[in-house]
Amino acid sequence: MAQTLTEKLLARAAGKDAVATGETVLTDVDVLMTHDVCGPGTIGVFKREFGDSARVWDPRRVVIIPDHYIFTSDERCQRNVDTLRAFANEQGIETFYDVIDDPQGRWRFDAAAGPLTSQHGRRYAGVCHSALAEKGHTRPGEVLIGTDSHTCTAGAFGEFATGVGNTDAAFVLGVGKILLRVPESMRFVLDGALADGVMAKDVILHIIGLVGVDGATYRAMEFAGDGIASLSIEDRMTIANMGVEAGAKNAVFPADRATCDFVDAAGKANGTARPYECLSPDGDAVYADTTVIDLSALEPVVAQPPDPAQVVPARQCTDVKLDRAYIGSCTGGKGSDFDAFAAIVRGRTVAIETFGVPATPAVLAHLRQATLGGQTLWDILVDAGVTMTANAGCAACLGGPGDTFGRMNEPLTCISTTNRNFPGRMGDLQGRIYLASPATAAASALAGHIADPREALP
């Protein structure tokens, strides 16, 4: 029977030749990822169900990435990082990207040090979805399960990647397997290439606007077409990342040369390389539907509050006055996101309070090294008036404790490169969040209202 890419991936993991849509299969898990918000609860369920002295199924396949509530004085948040460390030590999990270097230490945040002092140790990796890729834990052909809804990001690498809760994750920790219902797939054929000022974020917002916030519920999103080759790996990550905002179970790109180059380099640099297999869908596979998207015809868009499907062209929203701009997160805080943002704000000054949070320490290093017109990106941002932090992580993408960098503690209107704009997402319950690409966020930060970045291009 002809198989979609998702069916191929699940069949491989279930040790079967083929699987059928709607079938529930018990599949092997290649990597289980958890973080500081869901890890302690997952560990709690694991111990409750398998016993205090239980061992995880394979410590080399468990990746623990504290990233959410790190740079906060909240003691319970600090305790949660300590809980992860104790578990990693007990289980011999080496792929624990601790906040501190001392394996016997305790994490204590020092608010007085200020946001420009990196407070983490050498192993700290930042936002989990970016870190998974940078550290070589994403590979074609595999099944990645994470206790975070944006685990679907890793579908950019030709694997099946999805988010689950603590109980499902604890089950995986114990047995290395998960029960999955095989989803039907929606196919998106990408043609052509994006015009200047239009970014991958605009592609996925456009798609979410088309299908709605629940249009892909219980389904896979599968990308195809010649246009994929024109998208960088980071672009594909941005697109796969927000599949869950349309309700999708997973979002997957077929692996190509660029995928393998990225994966091989990351595996080699971090000593995490493992053999992998690139799978492709069958030509006559059956899809729930197929949508052709001409990338060259897309324009910059924003998603208006209160949900990510309220998508309209940025040029139609120029009357929306802004109080704040925010660049950061697994969706919009990567190196290429800051490249686009810096190119627009270079030599100019933002008109509103603007916060910048690198997703990972590697992104921070990029900002400090890469230059544009003889100036580092970091200096360009700071000179433009952007309030930066050297503490990479999730920060205000999901609000968090009151002292979180960039959190909306009042009912402001904010343009953000993040992925969700439901009420209260970045803090204040009455805050209004417009989701946009880094280019649109940059042009809007300069203007003080929503602006089309094509008019602000250097």
Partner: protein, 186 residues
């Protein structure tokens, strides 16, 4: 669970995401710690952007809710994978959420934790019911009805899901079916 569940309903709208069910600032609470589990209950649905005067699922200063049933529109539980969401509702004493549709991870987390029944009703009852109305949910008969019998609607069969939740969630079910070894000591 074959006994019908009767209780007062708390009515919300479409796209109630996990931040509204349990605001992110409370996610440092670890659900497997008993006191923190109860604390999660006190914050259930506290992220709704409503006027201060509006009815809350869990009254100020309390840990449990007078409402056993939450009624919603489309895409209930969309957003994050946080299991804190069904757990907060379950800890508050909610037994059933009835929605036009659910987001996938929330639905899955209801089953895995066994905290509450996610019931789909294709009729948009969130438009017909008001907070405080009394409803009876009969999972075995696959119907819900106003407690005074003045109206009733069919629900989508939960199938095997009902057995998993009734057993207490994924692990109880996995032990019963041999996916995970039975405990040697009770």
């Amino acid at each position: 669970m074959s006994e019908p569940i009767t209780g007062h309903v708390f009515v919300v709208g479409d796209n109630i995401d996990t931040d509204q069910i349990i605001p992110a600032e409370h996610l440092s609470l670890v659900p497997t710690v008993e006191a923190e589990y109860r604390a999660l209950g006190s914050f259930a649905l506290s992220g709704l952007p409503v006027a201060d005067s509006a009815e809350r699922l869990v009254p100020e200063g309390e840990q449990t809710s007078p409402y056993a049933i939450v009624v919603a529109g489309r895409n209930f539980g969309c957003g994050s994978s946080r299991e804190h969401a069904p757990i907060a509702l379950g800890a508050a004493g909610v037994k059933v959420v009835i929605a036009e549709s659910f987001a996938r991870i929330f639905f899955r987390n209801c089953i895995a934790t066994g905290e509450l029944y996610p019931v789909e009703c294709t009729h948009r009852i969130c438009d017909d019911l008001r907070t405080g109305d009394e409803l009876t949910v009969d999972l075995a008969a696959e119907r819900i009805a106003r407690a005074d019998g003045s109206a009733d609607w069919p629900i989508r069969p939960l199938g095997e899901v009902r057995d998993v939740i009734a057993a207490g969630g994924l692990f109880a079910y996995a032990r019963a079916t041999g996916l995970v070894a039975r405990r040697s000591t009770p």
